[in-house]
Amino acid sequence: MLNTQQDRLMAEIDELVTRHGSQRNALIPILQSLQTRHHTISDFAMQAVADRLGVHPVEVYGVVTFYAFLNEEYHGRFVIRLCRTISCDMAGKEAVARQLCNDLGIEFGQTTPDGRFTLEWANCIGMCDQGPAMLVNDQVFTRVTSEKVHDILASCEKAFSPHTPQTEEEHAL
């Protein structure tokens, strides 16, 4: 079972290498694809990518730990990144932060036990005129208030309802 999963991941990495090339320049695009699909860059993935690109696993690890959007730890299906930088701070991000913690039952830097949500801080996300702002995966929410938090989370929860067809990747979870 474990082997088939690794085989599948290996095939996926090979396909990414075919698409992006086997030069070091391809490293970050490959890692980004893996992050998007699997919500993490696993130990096996890092070593397999290193092998295919002819770099050392520790170099891949160095890159993964450098960039905020690449993670060696599992991240939830929805990654919520609340901007903590000055304009959003002045616009009242603290109340939003508290409510996010309360509603999800986790602190910043944590993932809900069901693996659905990860809560993180973000540095300036370029929505300074419409703060407080946050990203949920790639989607941006502006002028977020503590009252709006529940609705945003509820709209994410819908993705998990039994009526929503799940993608293949989610089965792999």
Binding site: S87, C124, G126, D129
Partner: protein
């Protein structure tokens, strides 16, 4: 509504810049950009024409045009607006640059936080490829092929520094390089590379349409042309504004609705804090320089909180390779927290300021060199507010 006043870029016809440029020879295009005296819109203010000319003069089989869309400076969001409203102008500018320096490859480095903009931009690129604005023999111009692809960043402010951006493109940690050699000689994969800001490319396209003289009539002698500013904080109408270079801070505040401001931080976390008494100063390379960030602080704001926010940002976003920036920002942050708790001696404050001056000159790249700016200017202008706090009013 983010766009708050009339934008010149909105009236520049799409593709007209490239059409005009292709009627000139390469030297002619660089001549126009040089004549406009435009300086880079990212904030450092290096003359764009000079940069293009250096890259054009470099002999190499391969060259690159890189658009720096890693807009990460706190308080800056004008590139987001340009990329969502006028992506064609940016691609026009990049293609013009490719023609001028003899490059066939363009890369737009888009910050990961702006992934939602990618779809629209890819559509725009596809359309351009379909209409011979990208690809082989653009507009039947012999020997000119150029294409652009979008490379996504993944959450690192320092990649806005051009050499860190190149390292990131090469698949490395985004750590700034030693300079020289400069990217115009030894850039991406060792090839001559120009890295310009989103706004710079857009204005370059506009200049090719409207001419260098038009650009020079706007702004000041040393800071030509219009500048797009991102205004946020305690103002009634936050958003992006176009002003001629040299506009005073008070004029900006008047238009944006922030006349009662206590202070304005120009240039984001790496910028300077300008107190109300100096609001007659001009936003320009020779006075208060900025890549576009204007953050307004109302009367009730505590500037130590701002300093703390900025320094926490830098402690996290420093690439961590050079000593002054990696450790210096942490010591400054601890110092600000001591001030907040009312535990910092005047002598130690002086030590910290002196450390900040060292960071400004001894750090490896622009991040570390500018990270102490905000604190130093806050200490200079608001000394009376930050010393001698009692624990009661001190925050955690």
């Amino acid at each position: 509504m983010t766009i708050r006043n009339d934008m010149t870029l909105a009236s520049v016809p799409v593709n007209a810049g490239l059409t005009a440029a292709l009627k000139m020879d390469r030297a002619g295009v660089i001549g126009v950009i040089r004549n406009s005296a435009m300086k880079g819109r990212g904030g450092a203010g290096f003359p764009t024409g000079v940069k293009w000319n250096l890259a054009a003069a470099a002999q190499a089989p391969r060259k690159f045009v890189v658009c720096n869309a890693d807009e990460g400076e706190p308080g800056t969001f004008k590139d987001r607006v340009i990329l969502s409203e006028w992506p064609d102008l940016v691609f026009d500018g990049m293609t013009i640059a490719g023609y001028a320096i003899g490059a066939a490859e363009g890369i737009l480095y888009l910050r990961g936080e702006y992934t939602y903009l990618r779809k629209g931009m890819e559509d725009c690129l596809a359309k351009r490829r379909g209409t011979s604005l990208l690809g082989e023999r653009i507009r039947d111009k012999d020997g000119f092929s150029f294409d652009i692809h979008i490379h996504m960043g993944c959450g690192a402010y320092v990649c806005g520094e051009e050499t860190a951006l190149i390292e990131s493109l090469e698949g490395h940690r985004g750590e700034a390089r030693n300079r020289p050699p400069f990217p115009v000689n030894t850039g991406l994969n060792g090839a001559p590379t120009i890295v310009n800001n989103v706004e710079t490319f857009a204005w370059a396209a506009a200049i090719c349409v409207k001419g260098a003289d038009w650009f020079k009539t706007i702004g000041t002698a040393k800071s030509t042309g219009p500048k797009i500013l991102s205004v946020s904080g305690d103002v009634e109408r936050p958003g992006v504004y176009e002003f001629p270079m040299g506009t005073t801070i008070q004029d900006v505040l008047k238009v944006a609705g922030g006349e009662n401001a206590k202070t304005v931080v120009i240039g984001g976390a790496s910028g300077h804090c300008v107190p109300a008494a100096e609001f007659s100063r001009a936003i320009s390379y020779e006075d208060v320089a900025t890549g576009g960030s204007v953050i307004v602080f109302g009367p009730g704001r505590d500037m130590l909180d701002a300093a703390e926010n900025f320094l926490a940002f830098f402690a996290d976003e420093s690439c961590g390779q050079c000593t002054p920036c990696r450790i210096g920002n942490v010591r400054l942050l601890e110092g600000v927290r001591m001030l907040q708790r009312g535990e910092c001696s005047t002598k130690y404050l002086h030590e910290l300021c002196s450390l900040g001056e060292t960071m400004q000159i001894a750090s490896k790249c622009g991040l570390g060199q500018s990270s102490p700016n905000a604190l130093l200017s806050i200490v200079k202008h608001f000394r009376h507010e930050i010393l001698g706090r009692t624990p009661a009013e001190a925050k955690a």
